[in-house]
């Protein structure tokens, strides 16, 4: 849809997007027939290369390719602050990607089996299992699993809350990207 524009320079500025830079049509000063063949070929190769790179970048991006620091737990401490809650404090040596907190906790929970127990209160079914990740005294993330179906079903991932860590470079999942 065209908007009313009175001056050519205004139109040019209106075309400048806020979030993404777009380039306008290339200014052509000669017809293709006026171009030497090698030059036309060069232009075509450049265009092909450009779009190829763009497509490659899109595919890489869609595949979610990124690097992430290795997941390594230094120490794990188990406690039970409530009768039906298990808390695991996990000491790590570097922040992880947000999904990795959940995935690692899920693996640990699977190792516990479907019916983890609080040994001090064996008659009370565990309602919540939380993994709290920290470096020293600083909490980086908490992953909670709760029984679904208002507390009667299986333990499922309820939420993962990742806190920003000043001074650490996280992978792209956790960076602002607008």
């Amino acid at each position: 849809m065209e908007r009313p524009v009175s001056r050519p320079e205004v139109q040019e500025s209106a075309a400048a997007p806020l979030g993404v830079r777009l380039r306008g049509p290339t200014r052509a000063t000669a017809t293709p027939t006026a171009q030497p063949p090698f030059r036309r070929l060069l232009t075509l190769r450049l265009v092909t290369l450009l779009f190829g790179a763009l497509l490659f970048g899109t595919l890489l991006s869609a595949a979610g390719c990124h690097s992430a620091p290795p997941m390594r737990a230094v120490d794990i401490d188990r406690s039970s602050p409530e009768k039906d809650v298990l808390l695991f404090e996990v000491e790590i040596d570097a922040p992880w990607a947000p999904r990795h907190y959940r995935d690692w906790a899920q693996e640990q929970l699977d190792l516990l089996g479907n019916e983890p127990r609080n040994d001090r209160y064996p008659g009370i079914p565990v309602y919540e299992v939380t993994y709290r990740y920290r470096i020293g005294r600083q909490t980086l993330a908490e992953v909670s699993f709760r029984r679904e179906g208002e507390g009667q079903g299986l333990l499922v991932h309820a939420r993962t809350v990742v806190r920003p860590v000043p001074g650490w470079l996280l992978d792209r999942e956790s960076r602002r990207d607008d």
């Binding site: 849809m1 908007r3 009313p4 524009v5 205004v10 139109q11 500025s13 209106a14 075309a15 400048a16 997007p17 806020l18 979030g19 993404v20 830079r21 777009l22 063949p37 090698f38 036309r40 070929l41 075509l44 265009v47 092909t48 779009f51 190829g52 763009l54 497509l55 899109t58 039970s80 602050p81 409530e82 009768k83 039906d84 809650v85 947000p98 999904r99 907190y101 959940r102 209160y121 009370i124 079914p125 309602y127 919540e128 029984r147 208002e150 507390g151 009667q152 991932h157 309820a158 939420r159 993962t160 809350v161 990742v162 806190r163 920003p164 999942e173 956790s174 602002r176 990207d177 607008d178």
Partner: protein, 444 residues
């Protein structure tokens, strides 16, 4: 000799596919999305749950309508737009990061808005990105020449992104962005006034690359918002008239306002929130912002809080659970400068609300939930919370159990809501008795 077939089949295929991808992506074409909804002022495209998409669309239409009322003269020139909605992939997996800024961008040349709002803590999208991008669309539709004036566009959008809808559906725009204010203050402290001013002046003429440079992008938002906010405060009239006044300002005139901005930034955020809290329609919002500050002096909000919960003076907010929730958070937060009797008086009042059968149960739940979330600095709440464990309403029992679990590490309890909702009273009474015994020992 040159190749007689510069377009081999492979190269031609690659070029064609690339062109097609670009052409499909750039206009936000509906072909790319599973769900395409048509609204009065925009089309909405998305891939995920269509019911969620429809709810988002209704909200966007509400924002559109509200902006039309807010900008009755701009409104005539606003184009229809296409909006592509991507649910934040992390939020979809119930992973919430601490990032404050939401995702989205606007392409004026295509009247295209891309939204990918995050859900900072909860289940619903934060509306700020919608308010933000829609502000770009309204301003640039009416004034295309502002599309490349990045500080001005982002300044206005950041002012409007803190807007919210009241219960009645009316749009309220405080314009004051606490996060960006604190960030601008930090920049001023770190850089000093001379460098701050130079940075700001440089930003007034910044191109896209300078404004969005990786190392200072968030700072650019803070600079832009603070200047625009100050200019709005310095102008008179309706919001639309003030926006026009800023559009008409010469660059020299804008630069002359920077010393005034520096004076505003030198004052604490509490001063500005206190001023906003004087507006009855913005008071609850302002009190909530007080509760989010790292530390706050009580004298800046205590009178407004009193007014907020006064049934005689403010019957509407005095019966609003949100007001009671923020009162609980404030009085149990990092408040300085309140004398002991005032503080204890408030704890007594809030704890008393837990026992008041004449109050709606939503208010009592709101107080208990606020205690469960943020903890407490007073023992005054324990006894009424234990009483609530035996209440007839399961919602109150669940909220009280959650709050009590927050109080003591020495007294483990059962947090499972199904226990407090459905267990027979005789089973629950064992747990209640334990709490009473624990509290009796504590008092001795």
């Amino acid at each position: 000799m040159t190749d007689p077939r510069p377009f081999g089949p492979l190269r031609a295929g690659l070029l064609g596919a690339s062109l097609l991808a670009v052409l499909l992506v750039l206009p936000g074409c509906g072909l790319l999305y599973s769900h395409n909804l048509e609204y009065e002022d925009f089309s909405l495209h998305g891939n995920h749950d269509v019911h969620q998409l429809r709810r988002t669309g209704d909200t966007i239409q509400q924002v559109f309508d509200a902006y039309r009322r807010l900008f009755p003269h701009l409104e005539e020139k606003v184009n229809e737009c296409r909006i592509c909605y991507e649910e934040d992939p992390l939020s979809r997996e119930r992973i919430f990061t601490g990032d404050l800024r939401q995702e989205g961008y606007y392409l004026p040349v295509l009247d295209l808005i891309q939204l990918s709002p995050r859900r900072p803590q909860g289940e619903t999208d934060d509306l700020s990105v919608i308010f933000h991008e829609m502000a770009h669309h309204f301003l640039i539709s009416a004034h295309p020449e502002t599309a490349s004036v990045y500080w001005l566009n982002e300044g206005l959008a950041c002012c409007l992104e803190v807007s919210f809808f009241e219960g009645t559906g009316e749009l309220r725009s405080p314009l004051f962005h606490p996060t960006l204010f604190l960030q601008a203050q930090r920049l001023l402290r770190r850089q000093g006034s001379t460098r701050f001013r130079e940075e700001l002046e440089e930003l007034l003429d910044a191109n896209w690359f300078r404004f969005h440079r990786t190392d200072g992008r968030n700072d650019s938002y803070a600079y832009s918002w603070s200047l625009y906010w100050h200019l709005l405060r310095s102008s008179e009239g309706t919001l639309e008239e003030r926006i026009h006044a800023i559009l008409e300002m010469k660059p020299e005139r804008i630069r002359e306002e920077i010393p005034g901005l520096l004076r505003e930034l030198a004052r604490p955020a509490e001063v500005h929130l206190h001023s906003i809290a004087g507006d009855r329609g913005l008071r609850t919002w302002a009190l909530e912002q007080f509760s989010e500050l790292p530390a706050v002096r009580g004298e800046w909000f205590i009178d407004e809080l009193e007014e907020e919960l006064s049934i005689e003076r403010s019957p509407k907010t005095a019966l609003n659970p949100r007001s009671w929730s923020v009162a609980t958070r404030l009085m149990n937060g990092r408040v300085r400068g309140l004398d002991r009797s005032t503080r204890n008086g408030w704890h007594g009042r809030l704890a008393g609300a837990l026992s008041r059968e004449d109050l709606p149960f939503e208010i009592r739940c709101a107080v208990a939930e606020a205690l469960a979330r943020d903890g407490s600095r007073s023992w005054a709440y324990i006894e009424p919370l234990i009483e609530l464990l035996e209440h007839d309403l399961p919602e109150l029992r669940i909220a009280a159990a959650r709050a009590l679990a927050r109080f003591s590490r020495q007294k483990p309890t059962v947090t499972n809501p199904i226990f407090w909702r459905e267990s027979p009273a005789a089973v629950r009474s064992v747990e209640v008795r334990e709490w009473r015994e624990w509290y009796a020992r504590l008092r001795r």
